[in-house]
């Protein structure tokens, strides 16, 4: 078991006052709160900080921890010396707010557990018959899945209490129907696929947040889809009829003469389908033909002679 340096986790000195510890906690809690933070390991850090605060904010636990702490460094192998907590009175199981179920082995060894079993009951469920927790996960889909609907297989890890009462990580595979018309950030509720109930309580629900895999050329905003479409300079200048890809297959697109780069063409109703389908926006880009042959260079020179043009006129130079 690794020793955890709670002071280091909280970024405070060993002699920090209770007020300083509270301030450090508030700051880190905001930074790593999983609902707010975009840090990749936010959830882990948030739990760590919560655990550290659970110990340091309680003068009794802090004093007991301090007594150990002087001889260990973070990450070092640690076993609590026998009788380490003698002379300290913990108000057994009285964890003051945090959900201790995610705390480390290190914490459990020192301060025990059992809190996580009572928490369900204390939050208003009937004793020993509590509905399981709702669980959350993300599911990655392709843009095409939102256009046509799809069946997706996904593997989820979850923690279950094993026969010995210790949490075990288990994997399960789900086959999920993705309905047509789903959008980024929407949630799919799969009834009773969440955490197992306690006693006769039924299982919680599983909430899947829809996330699109990045697509090489489409971008999605809500129900609208954007495509950057490159044009040759002459197509943009003279107008043209060209082929453009869409998620439902290529279409013929008429480019009006004199189209500048950045011009948006709207293909109504070609976005993500639904009662009110989104639109597909084609954003025109102008590609530069390479001047890598003598004839191409010659053509550019003639173009320059034929068309007087200062692209920086608006910059005053």
């Amino acid at each position: 078991m690794e020793f955890k340096d709670y002071y280091e986790i909280m970024g405070v000195k060993k002699d920090a006052t209770q007020d300083e510890i509270k301030r450090a906690y508030r700051k880190l809690a905001r930074k790593y709160h999983p609902d707010v933070s975009k840090e990749p390991d936010a959830e882990k850090r948030f739990k760590e900080v919560g655990e550290a605060y659970e110990v340091l904010k309680d003068p009794e636990k802090r004093a007991a921890y301090d007594q150990l702490g002087t001889n260990y460094k973070a990450g070092e192998d640690f076993r609590p010396p026998p009788g380490w907590d003698q002379g300290f009175e913990f108000h057994g199981g009285d964890f003051t707010g945090a959900d201790a179920s995610g705390f480390s082995d290190f914490f459990e060894q020192l301060f025990g557990r059992g809190f996580s079993y009572s928490s369900g009951a204390s939050r208003g469920g009937a004793e020993y018959h509590t509905r399981g927790n709702d669980t959350h996960a993300k599911i990655l889909i392709d843009l095409e899945d939102a256009y046509h609907g799809a069946n997706k297989t996904m593997t989820l890890k979850h923690t279950e209490l094993g026969p010995d009462g210790r949490p075990q990580v288990k994997e399960r595979t789900l086959n999920v129907r993705i309905p047509k018309g789903v959008r980024q950030g929407q949630h799919l509720r799969l009834a009773k696929q969440g955490g197992a109930g306690i006693g006769k309580g039924e299982a919680g629900d599983l909430f899947l947040e829809i996330q699109f895999k990045p697509h090489p050329y489409y971008h999605i905003e809500g129900k609208d889809v954007y495509l950057d479409l490159p044009l040759a300079p002459w197509e943009a200048a003279l107008g043209a009829k060209i082929k453009a890809p869409t998620p439902t297959g290529p279409v013929d697109l008429k480019i009006p003469p004199g189209s500048a780069a950045g011009r948006k063409l709207r293909l109504k109703g070609k976005g993500i389908p639904g009662k009110q389908p989104g639109d597909l926006y084609v954003i025109l880009q102008i590609a530069l033909p390479p001047a890598d042959t003598e004839s191409a260079k010659q053509a550019y020179r003639e173009f320059e002679k034929a068309v007087p043009f200062n692209p920086r006129a608006s910059l005053g130079v």
Binding site: H33, R123, N175, Q186, L208, P214, H219, I220, E221
Partner: protein
């Protein structure tokens, strides 16, 4: 893997075609109705309909309410603060999506 695990699961899209009553929202979020009234007052959940007896909430309200409760509990903020955080998170999400599009240009 057993066969049962692989049977096809279908769900409701919370944002689209799922509506719940006040009683259901209270049950799912394990909240008394008075707390839900507070959350509605701050715009965290936005019901359709006049009389609370006939209120209908979008499924997404469940997630917004839960997120607000977590924020209140973990960060020590009040309901108005949680409502502000939720609104700002929505705004950030919209901007991130747009930013992604422009960063990937060219």
């Amino acid at each position: 893997m057993t066969k049962q695990m692989m049977s096809l699961l279908s769900g409701d899209v919370l944002e689209d075609n799922m509506e719940i009553t006040l009683a259901e929202l209270c049950r799912i979020c394990r909240l008394p109705a008075e707390r839900v009234f507070e959350l509605v007052e701050e715009g965290i959940a936005e019901p359709l309909g006049q009389d609370p007896q006939y209120w209908r909430f979008q499924g997404i309200s469940v997630l917004r309410v839960r997120c607000a409760l977590r924020l209140e509990h973990d960060l020590g903020i009040n309901t108005a603060g949680a409502a502000l955080v939720l609104d700002l998170l929505d705004e950030i999400e919209t901007m991130r999506t747009r930013l992604n599009r422009f960063e990937n240009l060219g």
